[in-house]
């Protein structure tokens, strides 16, 4: 189930230094068989077959793998220390050169090393937040949809409360409480306000599949509640949740940049794309590359997640076949 999806979802960390491997067919479809003959009918198998021929999935997926490898193994990409900074000797805001590929930052740090190490912080926040909203939102939606009656009423009202709070303002209120903010508190704020949409998606999928004949049949055959959920109801909800989570992951990368820019995110000793944008916002006219590099990383990564999410949605929706 998870295997064919892995290149799109950040779990694709297995082969970070060999991005080309991602484009290889899954083991389920040996290269000898021609398409059409001996097809599996599974949704995921079909989706994977469609996805790996789709350039608007493969290219962003490779980009995500590259950024993931920067996050996991930054030393593969640079041997410089992002925090070895010096402003003496005119090292501040140097333009790109052979020694400093992206130039140097306002504090005289190597900007390329900062961009590589920044990937780790930004991806970590986004990944933790996405896992958090999927677990919490999935659980709340599942309970509300499956048990119905007062459980549903209560959980739906709680969802409404959080959904009604404006995302950005809620996150700022939440973050100002904390004295020292790091990537974990930022992820916590994003989770606290971001889980509602997944809960709604999950609840709707559970409600729509709860009364289907095959679920009723499994129930009539004496299927335990846990088995009913895990084997019959959950697989129906996986596709929309995976699609939303992929796009949300990209959104959280921009959210980190936005919250940092507003002054409630990370602060300078920390290295992240948001911090890089925030610190160099004022030098836009003199040294545009100081903004261009982190912004391209953020936009490229978000763009990749949105494209992968879109491709997954098309591939996983049987109605669009």
């Amino acid at each position: 189930m998870t295997d064919p999806l892995s290149p799109g979802v950040p779990a694709g960390t297995q082969a970070p230094n060999r991005p080309e491997q991602e484009a290889r067919p899954a083991p389920s479809a040996p290269p000898g068989t021609t398409p059409g003959e001996q097809r599996e009918a599974g949704l995921v198998g079909d989706a994977w077959r469609q996805l790996r021929r789709n350039p608007s999935f493969v290219i962003p997926a490779i980009f995500i793998l590259i950024v993931t490898s920067m996050a996991v193994f930054p030393r593969l990409w640079t041997s410089k220390d992002p925090l070895a900074c010096t402003v003496s000797g005119g090292m501040s805001r140097n333009p790109p050169s052979a020694e400093h590929w992206f130039g140097t930052s306002i504090l005289g740090c190597d900007y390329y090393a900062q961009a590589i190490y920044g990937a780790r912080t930004s991806m970590l926040i986004a990944l933790v937040a996405t896992i958090g909203i999927t677990v919490i939102g999935g659980l709340v939606g599942m309970l509300a949809g499956f048990f119905g009656s007062w459980t549903d009423a209560l959980l739906s009202r709680v969802t409404d409360i959080f959904l009604g709070l404006p995302f950005l303002l809620g996150a700022i209120v939440f973050l100002t409480i904390l004295k020292n903010r790091n990537e974990w508190t930022l992820a916590a704020a994003l989770i606290a306000l971001g889980w509602t949409v997944i809960a709604r998606i999950m609840r709707a999928s559970v409600l729509s599949s709860k009364h289907l004949d095959y679920v009723q049949a499994a129930r009539a055959l004496g299927g335990a509640r846990r088995r009913l959920i895990a084997r019959h109801i959950l697989p129906n909800a996986v596709a929309p949740v995976v699609v939303y989570a992929t796009i949300a992951l990209g959104g959280f990368i921009s959210a980190e940049a936005t919250l940092t820019f507003l002054g409630v995110g990370l602060q300078p000793p920390a290295v992240s794309w948001g911090v890089m944008i925030d610190q160099h916002d004022g030098y836009y006219h003199e040294d545009p590359w100081l903004l261009a590099f982190p912004v391209s990383f953020v936009v490229g990564t978000v763009l990749s997640f949105v494209l992968v999410g879109d491709a997954l949605r098309d591939a996983l929706d049987p109605k669009l076949r």
């Binding site: 700022i172 209120v173 409480i177 978000v302």
Partner: protein
């Protein structure tokens, strides 16, 4: 219909109370952990104990539970509810200016900004979506796909800063150098930031930036929902009857396709007003986003609670109106 509206309005009550309590708890914990925010008013001078005490009391922050970390302060919450709902008193900020007055002063700017953003979404978003949906797989379709995905991927902060620096300052400076361009354009629409001389014109660019993000979502949703409906049997029937192109697309297809789009825009109103924090900050618009943002940092709890509760109410009412509009757009939907 009437009963449905009443039932929905009754459902508002727990949601509003819940949101109020959540805000009350978060802001109380902030005070419990960081200390009395009133002290900050005095800077580095140590105020006499009696002055500090009186001012804290006057601002409604003297409850002893505000000194016990993570205490839920139920007593203070009930007091706040009483003053808000029974006396319609939202409290004051630290300069003793009533919150209602702050909101009344700032609201028009945010409303105008939201109105510009939403009309931009409606006009440009829906037309782009229809254009792309009708030419599925064609040039316009790809163009829409690429441009919307790009807009979605740019953080609103970056979009705002780039637009301000490039369009309002760069292009604006060039326009201001030309004699032939009227002032409304060069010093109004393309003013570097919001200016009181042109209160409407200088809101246009910030409004477009605010609407850009949702514009992409609107266009994509219009396109996919149009594509879904254009294959429907009743559309084929309409073609078969020999109806004109405009009528089939404009009335038969579009009317049904707009239902999900209306939902999106309805739920956006709340998000836009809250999301205007960034846009208002970048373009220096004195709207409620600026007020609440400043209040969060100075610890002016009453302002935060007042404004955010108002935004929650706007969101709830907008989603109710959207649900009622469904019945107008789709006669199959009945509420009773």
């Amino acid at each position: 219909m009437g009963r449905y509206v009443i039932r929905r309005l009754l459902q508002f009550i727990p949601t509003v109370f819940g949101a109020l309590f959540l805000l009350h708890y978060l802001t109380s914990v902030a005070i419990q952990l960081t200390g009395n925010p009133v002290r900050a008013l005095f800077g580095d001078r140590m105020p006499p104990e009696s002055v500090l005490h009186n001012l804290t009391e006057r601002l409604g922050l003297s409850d002893p539970c505000l000194e016990q970390p993570f205490s839920p302060c139920f007593g203070l919450f009930v007091e706040r509810l009483e003053s808000i709902f029974l006396r319609f008193d939202f409290g004051t900020n630290f300069n003793l200016r009533p919150v209602t007055e702050i909101v009344a002063g700032a609201m028009p700017y945010t409303l105008r900004l939201t109105a510009i953003a939403i009309s931009f979404e409606l006009v440009v978003g829906i037309s782009a979506g229809v254009l792309a949906g009708l030419r599925n797989g064609g040039f316009w379709d790809y163009w829409l796909k690429i441009s919307t995905v790009l807009i979605i991927s740019v953080p609103v902060v970056v979009l705002g800063v780039v637009v301000r620096d490039f369009v309002n300052i760069g292009f604006g400076n060039w326009l201001r150098g030309l004699e032939a361009v009227p002032d409304v354009i060069s010093r109004g629409v393309f003013a570097p930031t919001w200016t009181p001389n042109y209160p409407w014109a200088s809101l246009i660019v910030p409004g477009l930036v605010l609407g850009a993000l949702q514009l992409a979502a609107t266009a994509r949703l219009t396109r996919s929902s149009l594509l879904e409906n254009i294959r429907a049997d009743y559309v084929r029937t309409a073609w078969a009857k020999g109806l004109g192109h405009g009528r089939v697309v404009g009335v038969h297809t579009l009317r049904n396709s707009l239902i999900p789009v209306i939902t999106l825009i309805g739920t956006d109103i709340g998000a836009l007003m809250g999301g205007a924090v960034v846009t208002e900050g970048i373009f220096n618009v004195p709207g409620i986003g600026r007020q609440v943002f400043a209040a969060i940092f100075t610890g002016e709890t009453t302002v935060v609670i007042g404004i955010v509760t108002l935004l929650v109410l706007v969101y709830l009412i907008a989603s109710l109106v959207v649900d009622l509009l469904y019945a107008v757009l789709d006669p199959r939907i009945r509420y009773d």
